[in-house]
């Protein structure tokens, strides 16, 4: 049994470049294996000698492997994405709350992702599709800045054969024939019964706010809108307080929270 604050070595078993700055990696334990992660939970990934970053689970490969999608936005994530198969990273976790997908059984489901926010939601979509009969109508709404920055195009095409998938971009490129605009505008296109829906939302915080407002305006109960919050997670276990948002510690009480609980806190200015 390792100490919870000590990263456990995992080896990159597979690596796929999703976009110019985003990579999906499958990690397998070098020796010790961490407890199973649930969709929505996150790991602290260590690039040895550089630092740690909180990264959500972005898929389920095999019980032995962790799947994470990392976008290079700083020194740590750049080092993580630079890793190649065979490289060793440190992993701590699992941390935080899960999406609790099963609790949406019997309801319509709306999944709204903005940019890299599709990564933590991918296992939600796969879980719903794997147990399709347990859910009502399903709508997957995805937004990205440009077509080139869309994650998982192969999966989007596969999902589209089974459920409603709508994809929009802010800036269309030559040949783009889909919608143009922000992802909250797609909420009106979701073919679901809002009053009977559970929504899962992940993306930039402002995008989540506007998406949640659009969902609630259509009749989705705020308590049934789940968002994945992001703050500066450090310890991951609720000890250090870096990720505090009002009375919440996002690493422990989140990252997945219902919007009714988190909404009053989103407009409180940070010190």
């Amino acid at each position: 049994m390792s100490l919870p604050a000590v990263p456990v070595p995992y080896r990159i078993a597979a690596r796929r470049a999703d976009t110019a700055d985003t990579v999906t990696m499958e990690l397998e334990p070098v020796a010790e294996r961490l407890p199973a992660f649930a969709p929505g939970q996150f790991a602290m990934l260590t690039a040895y000698g550089v630092g740690e970053a909180p990264i959500s689970l972005s898929g389920v490969a095999t019980p032995d492997r962790l799947v994470h999608t990392v976008r290079a936005v700083g020194a740590v994530t750049a080092a993580l994405t630079a890793g190649r198969p065979g490289s060793v990273l440190g992993v701590r976790g699992p941390y935080g709350t899960s999406w609790d997908v099963a609790s949406a059984a019997g309801h319509d489901v709306v999944i709204v992702a903005g940019g890299i926010g599709l990564a933590p939601l991918r296992p939600v979509i796969e879980a719903v599709l794997a147990d399709r009969d347990r859910y009502g109508r399903v709508a997957v709404l995805v937004g990205a800045r440009t077509p080139a920055e869309l994650l998982y195009p192969d999966e989007l095409a596969r999902w589209e054969r089974q459920v409603q998938v709508e994809v929009t971009v802010d800036r269309p490129a030559e040949g783009w024939t889909g919608p143009v605009g922000l992802v909250p505008a797609l909420v009106a296109q979701a073919g679901v019964d809002p009053a009977a829906s559970v929504a899962f939302v992940c993306g930039p915080e402002v995008m989540m706010r506007f998406t949640a407002r659009a969902l609630i305006a259509r009749g989705v109960a705020a308590a049934r809108v789940r968002v994945s919050m992001e703050r500066t997670m450090r310890c991951g276990a609720g000890w250090c307080g870096h990720c505090q948002l009002g009375p919440l510690l996002i690493c422990r009480d989140g990252p997945v929270l219902d919007y009714a609980r988190v909404e009053p806190l989103l407009t409180v200015r940070e010190l």
């Binding site: 936005v73 700083g74 903005g114 940019g115 990205a144 800045r145 920055e149 929009t168 802010d170 269309p172 024939t177 889909g178 919608p179 143009v180 605009g181 922000l182 909250p184 505008a185 009106a188 296109q189 993306g203 930039p204 402002v206 995008m207 506007f210 992001e230």
Partner: protein, 159 residues
Amino acid sequence: MMTELAGRVSAQPFFAGLPPAMILQLCAYGEPVTLQADRRVFFEGETAERFWLLESGTVALGLHVPGHGDQIVETVGAGAVLGWSWLYPPYRWQFGAVTRSPVTGIAFDAAALRERCDADPALGYALLLRFTPVIVDRLQAARLRLLDLWGAPGRRVAP
């Protein structure tokens, strides 16, 4: 014919809550339309005399940029209303519109409806309550896109 049209108008969330009598008044200015894909609906700067309630299909709003052709700024789809420039002077389209897929919907004679609204402020107010959120939504969307929400986190910009 009018009853069928009223049923189609009532079925759209955009006109939710509009009293049946007003729906009928509105339908006096409407007619069903179908448009092929890639058809120009209107050009930027033309007189805005109609608006469309989209039941299916997608329409791209855009601008012609010299040297860069037609640039799409936004698309609108089923359930949305196309066109609000008919409401306010100078009654000219601020953007151009082209269908991106076959479109079905209802086209309204906005110029005549505007005159009716002048004479019937209750109808005019009811329509304003429905069109104003369209304008607000598009303004908010434009502002959010200016923020470039997809940028790397940590880039702080003072208000």
